[in-house]
């Protein structure tokens, strides 16, 4: 599931173009982004706040099982790395 400040319209267009079927959520007012302490101030268009890149794996009880807060914008979690952790989640 992906979260950004992009509008629902942007997400509609983008997911259609890219063929993504998982959930894209819009957080234009950085509500969830603030709650996860991921606000990157003034980095968006017209000085709007955006999210810094981050990934969380949450188990079915709502507990965080794995976190990736990259220190460098160009370095991101790899899918195989996340799948490896996902295997350890309880059923």
């Amino acid at each position: 599931m992906a979260i950004s400040v992009d509008s629902t319209q942007t997400n509609r267009d983008f997911t259609q173009k890219a063929g993504y079927t998982f959930t894209f959520l819009s957080d234009p007012n950085t509500e969830a982004i603030k709650r996860y302490d991921l606000v990157h101030q003034g980095q968006g268009e017209n000085g709007h706040d955006i999210a810094r890149p981050a990934e969380f794996l949450v188990d079915s009880t709502g507990t965080v099982r794995w976190v990736n807060l990259t220190e460098n914008y160009w370095v991101r979690a790899r899918p195989e790395q996340i799948l490896e952790v996902a295997k350890t989640l309880p059923n």
Binding site: A32, L38, G44, L57, V58
Partner: protein, 152 residues
């Protein structure tokens, strides 16, 4: 009279430095193995700088006609090529690290903060709902939350 020869090493080195810069953003960024550490681009920059140095030496050789102009042009082009390389290193290794520290982000073992946001069809979706909605007829074992900068 001496024949003016084209200083190909100099210009090839300069073009290669531009290519080494642009190819990261247009090509290599799409592959994790060349994105996380830009070794392919750094290799191209090394080649570019070798060519620029060869070109610079040639520009300063006494065999050239228009000796002063040749020196000035080869110096400027070499400096520009090196600046492109320096700018690349700055973008990837320095400004890429300008991210907030996020000390308050939920940690392993903590409860993920609840939220409710609109999906692409303007339908409100909460984390609790995502965790409870069956996928392929089975309860999900978890949810991966990916926060990204946006503006796609």
């Amino acid at each position: 009279m001496q024949v003016r020869k084209f200083n190909w090493a100099l210009w090839a080195g300069f073009l290669l430095s531009l290519g080494a810069f642009l190819s990261y953003f247009f090509v290599f960024v799409w592959f994790p193995s060349t994105r996380d550490f830009p070794w392919a681009n750094l290799l191209l920059f090394v080649l570019a700088i070798v060519l620029l140095v060869l070109g610079l030496r040639r520009g300063f050789s006494s065999e050239r006609s228009h000796r002063l102009r040749s020196k000035i042009v080869s110096s400027i082009v070499t400096i520009l090529g090196v600046l492109v390389c320096a700018f690349f290193i700055f973008v990837v290794f320095v400004s890429g690290r300008w991210l907030p520290s996020s000390h308050g982000a939920p940690q392993v073992g903590q409860k993920a903060p609840e939220f409710s946001l609109s999906d692409k069809n303007d339908k409100s979706v909460s984390l609790a709902e995502l965790l409870a909605t069956p996928i392929n007829g089975k309860a999900p074992r978890g949810v991966l939350l990916v926060f990204y900068r946006g503006y796609w």
